[in-house]
Amino acid sequence: MKSSSLAGAIGASSRERERASASASASVSSIKFRMPTKEKEKESLIPIHLDLDLDAHRYKDAFTWNLHDPDSLVLSFAKRTVKDLKLPPTFVSHISQSIQHQLAEFRSFGGQDMFIHEKIVPLKLDLRVNNTVVRDTFLWDISNFESDPEEFAVTLCNDLDVADPEVAPAIAVAIREQLYEIATQSVSAVKEAKLGKKGRRGYELSKGGNNALDVSRYFGSKGSGVIRKRKDWYMNGPTVDVLTNEEVGTLEELNSRFRRKLDEKEDSFLQG
């Protein structure tokens, strides 16, 4: 409950810092594309997401990859994974291709400008790892380049006594994915602005998407500005549920049915 009533445990202190610095600098700064997380130069940890379905084997995975690891690691990682999980060998090429594709995509953004202003964005967690379901919403400061999703994930799991060690890396990857998406959106926003579509004023307002929040409005004018409205409390606290195996089974069944429906729709759409 504590975390829900405060304006997001993570962003608070850094937000104040940024406020101070922003007011001091007064102008918005555009910087080169990067993950808005703590990293030194020449390294980036980016989220990799794999979802392959071949030969009746389904391989779904998400992990963090260091962009500056040598490319030879991709192939050896793919081979190792296939061997450890006993997947058919056709997976090796697919996995390595998918990883390299995502790495290339990230690299293509390199060198471009992204616009990071002081921004608080809400991040959502809604994931299921083995038997544990985690749902959470919290605010994250994009402009804080010292943020560390891994640390956040680990602290969250410790505080909530999550037994499964696989939950923490999944949370970290989920956070990174969302941050990555926001970063790419801000890049495109900069591009749009440069093309002069919206003009200077619009450029400031659009600020790379709808994620920006007007903080004062968000928290309500009554009382001090840092207490969340009571009705929003339930939404903003983390919930961790541990499911039994049957519940997991039913969930997976629902998922697969849903996926099949989507596939059918897609097929009919393509044909029609």
Binding site: K38, E39, K40, E43, L45, F63, T64, W65, N66, D69, L73, F77, R80, T81, D84, L85, E150, A153, V154, T155, C157, N158, D161, A163, D164, P165, E166, A168, P169, A172
Partner: protein, 433 residues
């Protein structure tokens, strides 16, 4: 997989016999460190390299076990980072990276090792390890490979390790009195040759040696010395074994595979050799009167002897095996001295177990045959008449006309031994040829 803190000491009202056990379990419980690097580790002592081979099991869910760590990794400790680690994984310690630093290294290392030790019998795969770890997969890979190479995870000591011999003495090299060697890796008996190495005190059969199936990583093929087991002397046959052999032969006849199985302690060649060397009387456990008549030292009159011998030899002569029939005939025709010499030579050649024994025997028989043919005189004892006048048939079979008209000539065996030896000679020919 954070374990709860050690169980609180049981209250005084609980059963007393369980108490000390539970306390012991609580003390020796190996706790897995929690995921966050900031949580301090409990101060249970980490397993050391010289683990005592004891297993303490407790009724509580925590079970302590021994962990074997190779001696070259004895520097490992939970709380510290050793120079070896700093040297071999410099990227964690040079401060150039934000996410590769000593604390994250320690976290990864301790997490991987605890995960392995929670299930020390199964091999921890890299994928399984990285799934539960926060961090980028490249770093996890580096730490994992390092730990695996240094035997801190996925390490199974070889069966010959000295810590293991006390605990698992049964798996050590078997060297029982019969001189058999058991291969350490596949457990099969080595019959022909084995390869030993003094370095690890191991014995491998030929197959495993060729497959390079060395248990220990530090061995190479040059370390192995070949030992030929055929040179080793075989102990003598005991009476029991001989009895088994005879029973088996009675049951199975000439099926030497089955006989060897029955005897169970000797290879096929041994069985055959032993059988051949046996005295004649034991071979035929026939009707009593024959046996009795035989054992008497030829006390009965010649006729009876002759008829007995005729009966005895007739199985051989009537054998559908043409070789047996021929040899029976030969043994009858040939003088007892010649036959005895030939048989003795054959048996002694057998005991040498050379490969050319068969050919030797055959050459001997050929020689003997030649000898017989060169001097055309009747071979019946006491006759010796010149056969050059007789027909070819007579010459060939070394009987003069008079004696050829008799039924199969059976010379009175001067000594039992010669006929025995001839029988042995017959048998060995048919079996080894």
């Amino acid at each position: 997989m954070a374990d709860p803190s050690p169980q609180p000491p049981p209250s005084a009202s609980t059963q007393s016999p369980l108490q000390p056990l539970q306390q012991l379990a609580a003390l020796t419980e190996l706790e897995t460190p929690s995921v966050a690097p900031s949580v301090s580790k409990p101060d249970t002592p980490g397993p050391t390299a010289t683990a005592t081979p004891e297993l303490i099991s407790a009724p509580s869910p925590a079970i302590s076990y021994t962990v074997i760590v190779p001696s070259f990794s004895a520097w490992f400790s939970w709380d510290e980072i050793h120079d070896t680690e700093r040297r071999l994984l410099p990227e964690f310690f040079d401060g150039k990276s934000t996410f590769r630093n000593p604390s994250s290294y320690k976290y990864l290392r301790n997490a991987i090792i605890s995960k392995f030790r929670s299930q020390p019998t199964s091999k921890l795969s890299y994928t399984e390890a990285r799934r539960g770890l926060v961090g980028d997969v490249g770093s996890v890979r580096k730490v994992f490979d390092f730990l695996e190479e240094w035997g801190l995870i996925n390490y199974t000591p070889p069966k010959k390790g000295k810590e293991e011999t006390e605990a698992r003495g049964a798996l050590g090299k078997k060297d029982d009195s019969s001189g058999k060697r058991i291969c350490t890796s596949c457990g099969a008996g080595c019959s022909l040759q084995c390869f030993t190495t003094a370095k690890a005190n191991m014995t491998l059969c030929a197959k495993c040696f060729v497959k390079s199936n060395y248990q220990r990583p530090g061995l190479s093929s040059a370390d192995f010395k070949r030992v030929d087991l055929l040179e080793e002397p075989r102990p003598d046959w005991t009476d029991k074994e001989t009895l088994h052999l005879l029973e088996a032969i009675l049951h199975y006849g000439e099926d030497w595979k089955k006989v060897t199985e029955y005897v169970a302690s000797r290879p096929v060649k041994d069985c055959i050799a032993r059988f051949v060397k046996l005295p004649f009387g034991e071979q035929f456990i026939g009707p009593k009167e024959e046996h009795n008549g035989y054992t008497e030292q030829g006390g009965d009159d010649t006729d009876e002897n002759e008829s007995i011998k005729r009966r005895r030899l007739s199985p051989l002569a009537d054998a559908s095996n043409p070789i047996m029939a021929q040899v029976a005939f030969l043994s009858a025709i040939v003088g007892p001295h010649v036959a005895e010499t030939a048989a003795q030579a054959a048996v002694s050649a057998l005991s040498n177990l050379g490969a050319n024994e068969a050919t030797d025997l055959t050459t001997e028989t050929n020689e003997e045959h030649e000898k017989l043919y060169s001097t055309p005189c009747c071979s019946v004892d006491g006759c010796g008449s010149d056969l050059s006048n007789c027909r070819d048939y007579h010459r060939r079979h070394k009987v003069c006309e008079a004696h050829s008209k008799a039924s199969i000539v059976l010379e009175e065996a001067k000594n039992r031994g010669s006929v025995n030896n001839v029988a042995g000679f017959i048998c060995c020919l048919s079996l080894m040829g």
